[in-house]
């Protein structure tokens, strides 16, 4: 980001003349600074206040959470322990982790060679394949869900488990393929050609040359996929809802609100507990993540 001030204001420190024009320009610049930062702070309040209120409510007593007070009288950190000990919560946590980790690993492993082929190989129907990938990416999951549900339920009898969520991840994810391809296009061909001259096959080139260079993009798509699985509500609702032992946090959280009908404090504590891993992960991998978002919209 270039945040250099506009050339009008660039003035040597020892400039002698403090003319009216200079003073007017300075005043305009100061007003501009104040206006911009006031707007930014107002916007930041809109984005951050919900987190603050959720947190403050999460440490209130049951009774106070039903009032319009916003500052906790007694900080009840025990609410978090209560949530953690709610029957099922630990199981949902584990299921979500299994879904997210297995889903992420399988997606990346199965999507990378596809993205590589779409970015580098010349073959008939390549553009058609790419359009098919984009169509899949844009497809609402509800369009195909009925036959898929019937397949998992009637043929394989696997509904009520995590399998229908995890297995499809081993067959490439359109969004991941698309994003990786966009990134691979930016790697100069000379690298892969040099590897070929050295006698590398395509697979070796992919693993030895491309993989290390594509690490930031892989990190970005892995994070996206992890968050997708972690946040997924529709999949678990369809395939896992019949067996509470296979629920994930997203699906369980809603029932949690139901079970603790009036307890907004516990519900908010649970809400923060499911947000926490995502936000912690983001702070560790901020750069990769932002690069990934940028890649979706801008690179090309």
């Amino acid at each position: 980001m270039t945040l250099t001030s506009s050339p009008r204001l660039a003035r040597p420190l020892d400039a002698p003349a403090r003319t009216d024009a200079h003073r007017a320009a300075r005043r305009r610049a100061a007003l501009h600074w104040v206006a911009v930062h006031t707007t930014a702070i107002a916007a930041a309040l809109f984005f951050l206040l919900p987190f603050v209120f959720v947190f403050l409510t999460s440490v209130m007593s049951d009774r106070q959470a039903l009032t319009t007070d916003y500052w906790p009288q007694h900080w009840q950190w025990g609410n978090y322990v209560k949530v953690w000990q709610t029957p099922g919560f630990l199981t949902w946590w584990r299921n979500t982790l299994v879904y997210a980790v297995a889903g992420t690993v399988l997606t990346v492993v199965s999507s990378l060679p596809v993205a590589y082929a779409l970015a580098r190989f010349r073959f008939r129907g390549r553009n058609l394949a790419l359009m098919a990938v984009i169509s899949m990416m844009m497809l609402p999951p509800q369009v195909t869900v009925i036959p898929m549900y019937l397949f998992w339920a009637k043929q394989l009898h696997l509904t009520g488990t995590l399998w229908p969520l995890v297995i499809p991840m081993a067959f490439g994810d359109a969004f991941t393929i698309f994003l990786l391809r966009q990134f691979l296009l930016t790697i100069p061909r000379e690298y892969t050609e040099a590897a070929r001259v050295d006698g590398c096959g395509e697979l070796r080139t992919l693993l030895r040359v491309i993989l290390p260079m594509a690490r930031p993009a892989i990190a970005a798509v892995a994070l996206f996929q992890f968050f997708y699985c972690w946040n997924d509500y529709f999949g678990p609702q369809i395939y896992a809802s019949e067996n509470p032992g296979a629920w994930t946090l997203s699906y369980g959280l809603e029932s949690f609100k139901g079970a603790h009908h009036t307890n907004w404090n516990l519900t908010m504590a649970a809400t923060l507990l499911i947000m926490a891993p995502v936000i912690v992960l983001f702070f560790f991998a901020q750069k990769a993540f932002i690069e990934g978002v940028t890649l979706t919209g801008v690179k090309g």
Binding site: T39, F46, A132, M148, F171, L249, S250
Partner: protein, 324 residues
Amino acid sequence: MTTSPRPAAATARGAALRRKHRREAYRTLAFLSPWLIGFGFFFAYPLISTVYFSFMKYDGFTAPVFTGLKNWDYVFNHYPFFWQGLGNTLWLVVVMVALRVVFGLGIGLLITKVKSGAGFFRTAFYLPYLAPPVAATIAFAFLLNPGTGPVNHALAQLGLPQPGWFNDPSWSKPALTMLALWGIGDLMVIFLAALLDVPQEQYEAAELDGAGAFKKFRFVTVPHIAPIVVFAVVTGVIQTMQYYTQAIVAGKVASGVIGGSGQQFEPGYPRGSTWTLPQMVYNLGFQRFDTGSACVVALILFAISMAFTSLLLRRRAGFVTGED
């Protein structure tokens, strides 16, 4: 191997070439195979089945029976929620997408102007995007709770009217829109990157020509970011066609229904105002066990989404298929 009357050397070369081509074809297939299987199995097969079931009466238990266009007639003319749901979806597509693009661009511009604490602001604006949709929706249902929520409490203290938000049919979609604007982080980052890509010299040149802030925006910024805006609008429309989790969770939490499996709740609470096409697929297929009609709605959803996807493929053809 085919035998031909051509000279031996040429044949050998031709055979070698053919072998090479075949090897390359196998290699391509091998690299593409995970996705080819996925495409056939998770896209083509279910899509064809959906078309098939849309002409069948099928409850998921007894054998399907062919009924022609009966399901189509039911969805369009007799399913009490279809037109309302389509209307809601279109409302969300128009209002939510438009506001998200304008707001996302505004926040992106704001960041480029901020000179102190840009990192802090960028993170603050981005953070809500990461909140899991279910968690974010429950949090908003709490914040916008008409009786005890902090938002209405603040409005009351300012002497302003206090809407019923998720409990009032005329405020539920605006409440969902606020939730969508809160999670603007992805668009903000995309617009920010595009804005930072605009060549600085052009601003300086425009300034020399005496252009003010508005003219600089209109004649330098807009032309540069126009393709990104088109991209954001088209992907936004497709995403909004899939709008599901927030609408269903908001309805459930606000109506106070006990969550979990199998519990019926008033569809699209309050009074059908949060009802969307994807929810109809779930309602028809998994709650009413009317597989055929659910497939009809799924196909309508597919047709609309693909119409917009083709727009994306055409308008951004360079972006999508662009070579290095």
